[in-house]
Structure formats: C-alpha cells, structure tokens
Symmetry: C2
C-alpha cells in the first residue's frame, strides 16, 4: 500500500500542480504581474517535477549516440592519416571518457553505500553470475594486456607520446572499478535521480562501445598489415609495409614479446568491452522500471542429466578447429599452392562443422514443435536485447556470405575452392538462421507447470476465460495462477489483483497429467541439453578461428576480384567484428539455454 500512496502523491503532484495553484489564486486579481508570478511559480514547479521517462530516454540516447559518433569520426580521421599524429588524439579522447565514467561509477557506489539501509530493487534476469564470472576472466586478460602496454611504453618512452603510457593505466583502473560495478550494481533498478543516472549509464555504454571500436580498428589494421606482408612474401606486390613499431630502439629486452602478446590478448579485450556495453544497456533500459517482486526471482535449472554425445562431439570440434587454425597460419604464408590448400582445408572443415550444427539446431527445433512447451511472454529487457543482438550481429556474416555467393557466381578465375566457398557461404547462412531460431525459441520457452493441462470441460473453460482476458497481447496464454515463487517471471501489476481471484476458483480443481508425457519430456530435455552443449562448443571453435588470424576471406581472392579491394575490405572490416561478437554472444546465450532446459 505504501507504494500506491507514493504513486498517488506522485500522480497528484505530477498532474495537478497548476490546477491546485490556479484554484488557490483564482480569486486574486488578474493583473499582468499576477500572471507573471503564476507563470514563474508554475515554471519553478514544473522544473522541480520528475522529467518524463520517455523524454529522459530520448535525451540520454541522443547524448550517447553523439558521443559515439565523435569517437567514430576521430577514428576515421586516424584511419586515413595512419598512426602518426591522430592516435594520441583518439587515446586522449578515450582516456577522458573513461575518467568521466570512473567518476560517475565512484559517485554511484558512494551514494548506494550511504543508502545501504534501503536496498535497491534488482532485475533477476540481468547479468547472471556466470556471465559476470566470464566477464571477470576477460577483464583479467584485459588487465594483463594493459600491463604489457605499459611495459611496451616503458621500452619506447624516448620517442612515443606520454598518452601511450597514461591510457593503459587509466584503462586498468577503469577495468577494475567496472568489474566491481558489474558484480554489485549491474542488476540495480534505479529509481532516484533517474534522468541524471540515465546519462551516467548511457555514457558508460557508449564508452565501452568506443573502446570496442578502437580495439576492432587496431585489430583490422594489424590483419591488413599481415595480409599485405603475405602478398609481398608471395611476390604478388612490391610495396613496403608500414612498420608497426616506433622509430626508436627499445630500452628493455621484452618489447617484442609485449608486442606479439598484445595481438593475442586483443580479441579478449574486444569481447569484454562489447559484452559490458550490452549489460550496461540492459541496466539503462531498467531505469525507472516497475518490477513484480513476487515473480522476479531466478530459478535454478533441473537436476543432472545424461550428457555424453554433446560434450564429446563439441570437444572434437574444438580440437579440430585449433588444429585447423595452426595448420592454416603456417601454410597460408608459404606459397600460392600451400595457400590454396590451406583455404580449401578451411572450407571443408567449415562445411562439416556447419552442417553438423545446422542438423543439431534443426533437431532441437523439431523437439520444440513436438513437445510444445508454452511460451514465456513476460517483459524481460535482457532477453529482448539478446534476441535483437543475435539477429543484428548475424547481418555482418550474412552480408559476407551473399557477397561470396555473388563473387563465385560471376567469377572469372576458377580456383579449386570455388565450389567449397559457395557451399560454405550457403551453409553459414543456414546455420545462423537455424541457430538463431533455436536459441530465441529456447529463451522464450518455459516448462509446463504440473497442473497446467486441464481436461476438456466447460468449467475449466470458464476459469481459463478469466486468464484469457488477462493475457498479454502475445501468442499463447500465460497461467499466472500456477506460478511457483521460484519461476523467473515479471508480470504487469494488473494481473496481481486477478491472480488472487483466480487462485480461489481453482483450488479444488484436480488436473490430470499423463504418465507418458513425463517420461519423454525428460529424454527430450537430455537431447536438448546435449544439443546446447554441442552448439556451445562449436561456437567457441568458430570464434577462435577468425579471432586468431584464420580469415580466408582476405586470402581467397575471389571476392576481391568481384568487389575491388576498397569495397571488399570495408565490408570485411564491418562484418568480421560483428561475426566475432555473434559467436561470443551465442556462446553466452547457449549456456543460458543449457542451464534453463
């Protein structure tokens, strides 16, 4: 009731200050000075009121987007002029953003500490423990990368700008406090100073997004240099590749070790920033949200099941991918024939793994059609974002695939891997479609509650008619009355009153459940768990390959002939980072699916 009274007060304060003040002063004279006084009073009252949520969202979103675009334009200028003068500008800009975010996070944590007696509401579905654990691991690798950067700066400090030393220090501090923030505050549903906090959180989202962009750009530059070196080594071109090291000599003995290790740690740093960005975005969406306390609790997954085929095949895929990676990296620089063989090997491996993944996903979808568990349609920003990110990040590699198909279709040359390239591209499109469907359907499916299948009778029809009218405007009908307290669900406030009525009506109804239905679902769940773990490991394999240098789209030459190097490298630089993010996000989503089944 306390919540309602405060809502009343809010309502009254929000909607009727002018009427209250105007009724009290309606008897005063209508002179212009009185009107001015009233206007000033109304203005002061209005500005002190809560800023509308929608406007607050739009305002903060615009701030964030513009921040991102400032950074992107600086990076584009850097890309044109090369790493001479502008790298310092970009790093200085990023350092400033990180310091602002640090300041905001510290203020937030201090404010929370002071109001420790009033614990904040928390969204149970945002940022599960294992996601935060995984991110902490990535953050540790990121800290090691910062340490190497500092070591590299110490070696070259005679001839490089000071910002190259300041940046990794600030980045390390930023990473440590961000990890602390992730563990203790990421689930908070902010209800005080909403408009201000929206700016703080969106600033954090886009700072991480810019750090991700910077990492991606550095990676792309490095990959392009590698590609050029290979072409020069194979004798195709005769230009000098820009050296990546500074002009002075290193004063320590570990510079080359630092430089080469940085390259291997970079992918983890990149994934860390984009994931944190997504989690902070969910926090931003949660600001001002009203949760249903009874149902906003996570539920652990059901007991152990027979996991054999899935993990075994998954480990096989993982081991094969590491082998393919090593062989590819070695052979692609040897000679033209070795390069062609390496590319063919990659495509054959890809065809096998993608066909298996597509088949596994299709079996999972078929099980869902047969078993037909009900859909969970309650509002869940984290899940909605998951689905949108999966679809959005698939766009990159779908574009690559269709470009490959067009290139193979109109090719003038006929290398040996032409048709395997085509098959790989088409299978990649299919595999992503099937996997997206499987993951999203898994996230939206829920288990049938024990009493959820009544017999066909008129009485039950009437009872369920109440529920039907309560149904949110999605597919299927959600039976709130049978919710157990450990079910992760947030329902609109409106259904609470009706739930009590419904509970009273259905107490004495006994609902039969067939025995046969209980055996096969557990076997089907075993199959689904195996599928989930298999796909989980295959996605890790398909992340490792491009993240550590296996990028045949650069090396096979077909697409470059059809689109030209400028267009094709632009498409690759756009699509490959999205593809890497897709794989890592699928890994996270499939683990969630595995725990949920």
């Amino acid at each position: 009731m306390v919540e309602h009274s405060s809502l009343d007060a809010m309502f009254l304060n929000k909607y009727c200050p002018s009427s209250a003040s105007s009724s009290s002063s309606s008897s005063a004279s209508s002179s212009s000075s009185d009107r001015e006084k009233r206007l000033l009073h109304a203005l002061r009252g209005s500005l002190a009121k809560k800023y509308p949520q929608k406007s607050g969202e739009v305002l903060s979103a615009q701030y964030g987007i513009n921040l991102l675009l400032v950074g992107v334009s600086l990076m584009l200028a850097l890309a044109y002029q090369g790493p001479n003068a502008s790298e310092e500008t970009v790093l200085a800009f990023l350092t400033a953003l990180m310091l602002v975010q640090l300041f905001w996070m510290v203020c937030y944590m201090v404010r929370r500490e002071r109001r420790r007696s009033v614990p904040p509401e928390r969204d149970a579905n945002a940022a599960t423990s294992w996601i935060r654990g995984g991110l902490t691991m990535l953050a540790l690798l990121s800290l090691i990368m910062d340490a190497f950067r500092i070591g590299s700066f110490v070696g070259y400090q005679a001839c490089v700008s000071a910002i190259l030393g300041v940046y990794p220090v600030v980045h390390a501090l930023h990473t440590i406090s961000q990890v602390h923030f992730l563990w203790f505050h990421i689930k908070d549903v902010i209800k005080r100073y909403e408009t201000f906090e929206r700016f703080g959180v969106i600033h954090a989202v886009f700072t991480n997004l810019l750090l991700w962009s910077n990492g991606v750009m550095t990676e792309a530059e490095h990959a392009l240099n590698d590609h050029k070196k290979r072409l020069v080594a194979l004798g195709y071109f005769n230009f000098t590749v820009d050296p990546e090291e500074p002009s002075c000599n290193c004063t320590t003995s570990a510079c080359s070790m630092f430089s080469s290790s940085l390259y291997y740690l970079c992918p983890f740093n990149i994934e860390y920033h984009i994931f944190v960005s997504a989690l902070l975005f969910v926090m931003w969406k949660n600001i001002g949200r009203k949760l249903d306390h009874q149902t906003n609790q996570k539920r652990g997954s059901s007991g152990g099941s027979c996991l054999l085929l899935g993990p075994v095949l998954g480990l096989l895929a993982l081991a094969s991918s590491i082998t393919v990676l090593i062989i590819y990296i070695i052979h692609v620089e040897e000679s033209a024939e070795a390069r062609e063989a390496a590319v063919s090997m990659f495509y054959c491996f890809g065809i096998v793994i993608l066909a298996s993944m597509s088949a596994a996903g299709a079996v999972g979808l078929l099980i869902y059609r047969v078993e037909d568990w009900p859909m969970d349609t309650t509002p869940n920003p984290a899940r909605t974002l998951d689905a949108k990110l999966l679809l959005g990040s698939s766009v990159g590699s779908w574009l690559l695939c269709w470009c490959s198909v067009v290139a193979v279709g109109g090719a003038q040359s006929y290398p040996s891997y032409r048709w395997s390239n085509l098959a790989y591209a088409l299978l990649l499109v299919l595999e992503k479609c099937v996997q997206n469907l499987f993951v999203i359907e898994s996230l939206y499916r829920r288990r049938r509650e024990p009493g959820e299948c009544p017999t066909h009778s008129a009485t039950h029809g009437e009872i369920f008619s109440v529920t039907a009218s309560m149904a949110p405007p999605y597919d299927g009908i959600v039976n709130h009355a049978f919710e157990s307290s450990d079910r992760p669900r947030e329902v609109p406030e409106s259904s609470k009153a009706d739930k009590t009525t419904f509970d009273k009506k259905t107490k004495d109804v006994s609902l039969p459940v067939g025995h046969g239905a209980q055996d096969s679902p557990s076997r089907k769940r075993q199959i689904l768990k195996n599928i989930a773990i298999f796909l989980f490991m295959c996605n890790i394999s398909l992340w490792i390959l491009p993240a550590f240098g296996c990028r045949p789209q650069f090396d096979n030459g077909l697409e470059e002939a059809s689109f030209g190097f400028p267009i094709w490298s632009t498409v690759l630089n756009f699509a490959l980072p999205m593809s890497l993010f897709y794989r890592m996000h699928s890994v996270a989503a499939l683990f969630e699916v595995f725990r949920k089944i």
Copy 2:
C-alpha cells in the same frame, strides 16, 4: 465471450494435445510401435498447431534481412564494375521481387474480398489518411518517372538490354497495386495464416527497401559524376567522366528531356519507397496483435486556432531555400571564387534557419514542461517506429557533422567558410536533438481530460490506488476511467474489468478545474501549432536543398582533405540518404503533431 471460448480452445489445443492424446492411450500397451504411433500423432498434431508468434517473427525477419543482403551484395558488385554488365542483374532481381510481391498482394486482396462478410480488425493509428494521400502523390510522380524510363528505353532500344524496358513496366504495375493496397489494407490486423502472411508482408517491406537502395545508389552515382564534372570544369582534374547515356543514338527527339527529368523525379521515388516500407513494417508488427476495440479510434484535432507567425515564417524559409538552391547550382560550377562564395552563402543560410528551428523547438519543449500534460503510454507500434526512425535516421547527419568538426579542427587550409562550416555543423546537431525531443514528446503527450485533476483527499487516494496498480510500467499514471470514446488509445485487455469497477466508484465525484488553467492552455496550444507548422515548412526546405543538388559537403574540400576521398564519399553516400529520409519523416511527424495539438 466468443473470443474467450476460442482462446480457451486455442489454449487447450495448444498446450495439451500430448497430454490429451497420452491420457487416451495410456491404457494401450507400451510397445515400440505404439510409441512410434504416438510420436507421429503428436508430431502431426504439433505441425498442425499455430506456429509460435515469436518464432514466426524471427523466421520472417531472417528471410527479409537475407533478401536485403542479397540485393545489397549485387549492388556492391555493380558499384565496383560500373553500369556495364551488372545493372541488368540488379534490375532483373528487383523485377522478380516486385512480381512476387504483386502476386502476394493480389492473393491477399482476393482472400479479403471473399471474406468481406467478416471485416478485419484495423489499427486506427497506422497510416493516417493524409499520409496515404501524400504517398499517393509521390506514387503519381513515380509513375511519371516510369513513363519517362519507358520513353527513354524506346529511344535507345537498339543497344540496351530488354530488362531496361521490362523493369519500369513492372514497377508501374507494382506502384499502382501497392497504392491500392495502402488505401484499403494497410491498417489490417492479420489474424489468419499469420506465419504465411508475415513472410508476405516482410517480403514487401524489404522489396521496397531494396528499391529505395537502388534509387539511392543511382542518385549517388549521378551526384558523384556531377561532382567530377565540376572538378574537371574548374580545372582541378584531367580525367574523362564516364558518359551516362548508352552508346547508340536515340531514335526519338525526347531522350535528353527524359534523362534530365528523371533526375528531378528520382528523389520523390526514393522517398515513396522508404515510406511505404515503414508503413508495411507497422503492418508486419501488427500481425496477430490484440486490439482493444473500445479505444482503438482516432480522434480529430480541436477547432481552429490563430495561425499566423508560424506559416508566414515557414513560407519565408521555403522561399529562401529555393532561392539559395538556384543560386548555389548556378554559381558552384563557375569558378573557384564563385564556388567558395556559394558554399559560404549556403552555410550562412543554414546557420540562420537552424538557429530559428532550434529556438522554436526549445520554446515548444518549455511549454510542455510548464503545461505538463500527461503522457500517453499505451502500446502503439506506429508511434514507437516513428520515434526509432527519427533517432536512427539522425545518425547519418550527426556523423557528417562530427566529421566536419574534426576536419575544421585539424584543417591545414583556411578557406573563408571554415568557421561557418563549424557553426553549421554544431547547430545541425543541436537542431536535430531539439527537434527529435519536441516531436517525440508531442507524440507521447496527450490532453488532460476534463475531470483529471482531483483535490488532495484520502478517498481519492484510495480510488486512484486502484488505477495506480493498473499503471503500465512507464512514467505517470493513466486514468482509464476518464477516457472518452474518441480518444486514440489502445489499452491492455486487463484493464477492462477494472475500468467498470472504477467507473462505478467515481460517478459522484466532482472534480474542480481552475479557470485560469483553461485560458493559458489554449494560448499555449496556439503557440505549439505555430511552432509545428514553422518546423514543418523548414524541414521541407532542408529536404529540398540536398535532394536537388545542393551538397556542399562534396564541394567544400575540408573533409575530403581530412578523411580522404574514399572514406569521405563512403560516409556521404551512407549519411545523405539517411538525412533526406530524416527530413521527410520529420515532415510527416510534424504534421501529425500539428493535427494532434
């Protein structure tokens, strides 16, 4: 009750086929053949059931996205190889898509005709009459463009491919049937064969999007050729510009008239396709949606008000922009000094108009803060899409602006328009932010109902506590009991039952409304209407300028020096179409705001 019974049946069919069938066969022997029969039966039952909405959405979305990407990859190949061989491929692909869409639309209309006795539900907020009227005008211009294309084909048919004649014919048929579809079916909320229709509608969305992309690419190519011709004429470069006409002679006397007219009609065709695409997307979102029939009605705007300053200033802006356009087009090709003067003139005009628009928008926002009308938070896919499109399409010109800022900051040369370029860029960012806030807040605000401001009393606190618990999880509390039948609102089904209870409780409550509050709101509404009409006309002006050739970003040289021609032209080709769409979409949204106030 009929609806509830059918929902019950759906529920029972959906959730419990396996339990129903398993309970009926639980007494049978548990041999493997019986299990197989049960599995087949369950599978058949499952496949006959309704496909889950979420999965249907994901499946159709993936189909649409891949369709778009196939088209984009063909266009990228065309961009590299030039308009020699691949233009026919692209046109053939688009023709095939249009024929498929035509076929689907005809089938849909025939099916609707057969079920004329059962009129479909309609979303009152989708595609208002004036939007459809505007689109019909754009479609007419598009048909004229098709006629000119056919005329041009007839003149050059000796040496051009037949597809260049087939394409405009199919496009004309497609346009006519699409306009018919827009007038009679775009508001339909599809409830039968949902999964199939999702594919049909999404196919239509992405076909129009691809036609838009094709138009944009053609336009960009034309603008680039113009730019090159100017540089050659001014003596900067010495290359030959590719001729845009075919190699043979024209057999009619009107070819050049057709070619030049095509260029002026192209912008309308482009805007037509992107708008239709957005309307069809709203239709796709509406598939399977449950509307509240009582409140799904549009409301006309309030009576006439004093409109003087807004229209006058708006017409002044429009007249000035046309003058600026003509002077710019003439002078930019004359000499280097004339070009510099033309660009400076454009920036000065831009600064004045953007400053005025920002001030007007800010006044509007201030009025909303003072007047504090309640927010309308009911679900409305059309409005949500409007807001997202406004923010999304702003990204293009915000990127251009920040690139200009970076370019001016790091410029090596110092032309006279350097600082006006900087001021223009910053004002453009500000103007778009303010305008977005104003438009979105206007779309989400609603008028206060006559009895909406109660006095502060405990009784009212109790009454509103019921309402408060019904509040959707957004800012403010929506008082459903005071809805009049002509208010455009869709509320969740859940609040219907409570509304009746609420109505009974509040019949005898008399709620005071101050006199003073009624006078100033109508004056404020007048001011808002003037602001809306002024912004409406300014946005038309700012659409006309780049649509018909006034693009100083190509001509001022500053950004090209900072980013290089490849990067800068890519950014322009991405950002300018988005900017044009933003202006046209703002025009539509501001007209909606004007009618709503």
